[in-house]
Symmetry: C2
Subunit: 288 residues, 2 copies
């Protein structure tokens, strides 16, 4: 398939990310449909012109309208949905997703997928502390990173369409990684950071702390406000890779702990200089 102004796009799951995809694509003139088991989310999206057509139950009449389907649902539900409902999908439809983990379901999904359909994974590296379509915002993708995660089963054409979708949504950096490499990366950059923020936020009695706090504590705990249903699932589906990244952090933290304990000033400063240098790489990309 080719992505053009006639491409009809179905978003399955009208939450924060699905809603933001729909909002962005609708504002750019695409025909966007929405499927969500929650009638209120569908009605909200219709009423606010986030989607043109919506439903709560999959059917051939509705699903069959679309050329591109994007899953914006909890990872564990995708496989099941495909098994039950792929019969309704139009031949040659491209399917993608927004899921934060990949290898635990992509290979299984590609195994059961109809031969005339194609699934290419994608991960928009953007989010919000608030959830739900009411908080949807097309602006969260602008300037952010987008990762396409193809497997050997994918065609160059489908990968291209996925990348193009990222460009349309306004991502500034679009890259390609294998599902495994993606999961390792995300285990570090996204999941480890969330385990740290949550652990910091819950490590002691916080009575009266807020009025003494500077920006650093706020920065480190912004993501401690977390969707427990989604993130516990993401953590457990990527368990081994996440635990490896947590081990790396633990070793690094213990090393600094021991240098402080032993009063080894020069060793502490050495680590700080390295950390300052490494952090600069992250400035350049985002132009902080």
């Amino acid at each position: 398939m080719k992505l053009d102004k006639n491409t009809k796009i179905l978003i399955i799951g009208l939450g924060l990310i699905g809603g933001s995809y729909a909002k962005s694509l609708s504002s750019k003139g695409y025909f966007v449909g929405g499927l969500d088991t929650d009638r209120k989310a569908v009605d909200y999206a219709l009423k606010n012109n986030i989607i043109k057509q919506g439903d709560t139950i999959p059917s051939a009449d509705f699903i069959g309208l679309f050329d591109l389907i994007i899953f914006a649902v909890y990872p564990h539900t995708i496989l099941d949905w495909i098994e039950k409902n792929q019969q309704f999908i139009k031949p040659n439809t491209l399917i993608s997703d927004v899921t934060g983990i990949k290898s635990c379901f992509i290979y299984d999904l590609q195994k059961i997928l109809r031969q005339d359909l194609e699934f290419v994974g994608a991960h928009p590296m953007a989010g919000r502390e608030s959830s739900g379509i009411e908080n949807a915002d097309a602006g969260i993708f602008v300037g952010a990173n987008y990762i396409v995660t193809p497997t050997e089963k994918n065609t160059e054409d489908a990968i291209s369409v996925c990348k193009e979708l990222g460009e349309i949504l306004g991502f500034s950096s679009i890259s390609v990684l294998s599902p495994e490499k993606h999961d390792e990366m995300i285990g570090f950059l996204s999941q480890l950071t969330h385990t740290i923020a949550v652990s910091l936020m819950t490590c002691r009695d916080m009575e009266g702390m807020a009025e003494y706090s500077g920006d650093s504590f706020r920065d480190l705990t912004r993501i401690a406000k977390i969707n427990d249903e989604m993130w516990s699932e993401l953590f457990l589906l990527n368990k081994d890779k996440l635990l490896s990244q947590m081990d790396l952090f633990k070793n690094s933290f213990d090393k600094l702990y021991n240098h402080i304990k032993n009063g080894e000033c020069e060793k502490i400063r050495e680590i700080m200089r390295l950390s300052t240098k490494e952090r600069e790489l992250f400035d350049k990309v985002k132009g902080e």
Copy 2:
């Protein structure tokens, strides 16, 4: 002393914080002087109307001009400076500081301080990743927290002037803590967060990571760009309290680690719900 428009204020140490104090107070019409061993910093401050008068060497003629002296220098230098130069200070002058740790020097300083002088500690909870007077910005204090740390030796009058100074600088919350309680609080809210950021930034090879990063990693490592000379000193001068806070975090992180390892979904979600609830307390204060 009383703080009014005739009060002459001397800032010792024209770095980022000292420079920002001077900038803010000058813009509000106070007569501000600056002392710094670095001639370039003094010249820059004079040229940019950040101070009215400046010098690189303490003398009776210069130091004797001022009614309020604020130390914005490395903690270990304050005691030594007072020992050598308090002879130049005018009787009844109030002395304060901006240092990030308190109990390690305040009691010693008050012991050697001339009877006709008074020292009250204060800590502006604001900063920047960049240092030096060129980056001074009066705006960093607006909306931030300010802590006054008196001891039993301090008078109500002097504590009031210190609080007033915080108001003039634009801090939104001004509170009072003992030096010990301050150091424990800061060990948690500020120092622990810096040990975490630095450990995260240096825990693995970062090759190519920047282009896959989302906001969470950037947020958690913003403060990993760090002044190694100052922070290593702050860590080691507050060693025992910092290590206790690091222990609390380690226990919390290990707990979450084990729940993930054991696949204990409900226990992970319980921690996340607590973390979400606790983080909300920090929203309210700053109006995020």
